[in-house]
């Protein structure tokens, strides 16, 4: 296994680490790659910022509750009734 990774691989590890799920070895390889690669260095910084924004969105999403309209439920009852008979 070579230690130097591609930008593709580096950004995949960076994405994984946004969820704190990159392994120790992956984090070391990413850190090394980022220290010598300008584009990926920028990617890491921007990715952190994106994660922060997604977190804001996530908080909203988790609060939402959804329900079917009464009309939809009545229709569903009717169709289920048809199936039974």
């Amino acid at each position: 296994m070579k230690f130097m990774i591609t930008c593709d691989k580096a950004s995949t590890i960076c994405d994984k680490s946004q969820y704190k799920e990159a392994s120790f070895l992956e984090r070391i390889r990413l850190a090394y790659h980022v220290s010598i690669c300008e584009s990926c260095n920028l990617y890491v910084k921007q990715n952190r910022k994106m994660s922060h924004f997604f977190k804001l969105k996530s908080t909203d999403c988790k609060k939402e509750t959804h329900s079917l309209t009464n009309a939809a439920k009545e229709l569903l009852k009717k169709e289920l009734g048809n199936l039974k008979s």
């Binding site: 593709d8 994405d15 994106m50 924004f53 804001l56 969105k57 959804h66 439920k73 199936l83 039974k84």
Partner: protein
């Protein structure tokens, strides 16, 4: 007393008791009201058809959820097998001596106006929503479950029947495309 331990099915009350519960379950996974509604309907239909197989070992609701889980998995398998036009354009060379390197014009660009723009949170959230809606559905589903609903990796893999490396590849593609979308529509506007 023994017969009280056995759960029974009461299909006449299903919709009033479980429609909203199942609908919520479906919509956080497929994120489309019509698809979610269809999946719930199919769940009730399948439940009715296979009612005679109900052993009474789980509650009615748990049993219905297990049917819905299979419907969600089937739905994902279907959209996941659609190839071609919805594929994300990749940002890396896929072959040759530059394989795995950034394609120059798609490498990250610095973001200009991010500092003052962070304040407009509700606009930003709308923009994120719109960018996610532009992802191919097979990426959007995994991205939402992982990032917005914050489900565990293994849970998602099990529910959608995909491998972990597949999940990270999807997350990578989704985030790459979202980054580009936010860059074009938010940071560098």
């Amino acid at each position: 007393m023994l017969e009280n331990l056995e759960n029974k099915l009461f299909p006449n009350t299903w919709i009033d008791c479980y429609a909203d519960y199942l609908y919520n379950y479906a919509i956080v996974r497929v994120n489309n009201p019509d698809v979610a509604k269809d999946l719930v309907q199919e769940t009730f239909f399948s439940g009715l058809k296979s009612a005679k197989n109900f052993l009474g070992k789980s509650t009615e609701r748990t049993w219905l959820v297990s049917i819905l889980k299979r419907k969600v998995m089937d739905h994902y398998r279907k959209i996941n097998s659609i190839k071609g036009k919805a594929e994300v354009r990749m940002n890396f060379y896929s072959e040759g001596e530059n394989e795995g390197n950034w394609i120059e014009e798609r490498a990250p660009q610095s973001w200009e106006s991010s500092v003052d723009k962070e304040i407009e949170t509700s606009e930003l959230k709308t923009q994120i929503e719109s960018c996610i809606d532009h992802l191919p559905e097979k990426y959007a589903i995994v991205f939402r479950m992982k990032t917005l609903q914050e489900f565990g990796t293994q849970e998602i893999c099990k529910e959608l029947n995909i491998s972990e490396s597949n999940l990270w590849e999807i997350i990578h593609r989704a985030r790459t495309q979202l980054r580009k979308c936010l860059e074009d529509n938010w940071f560098n506007v």
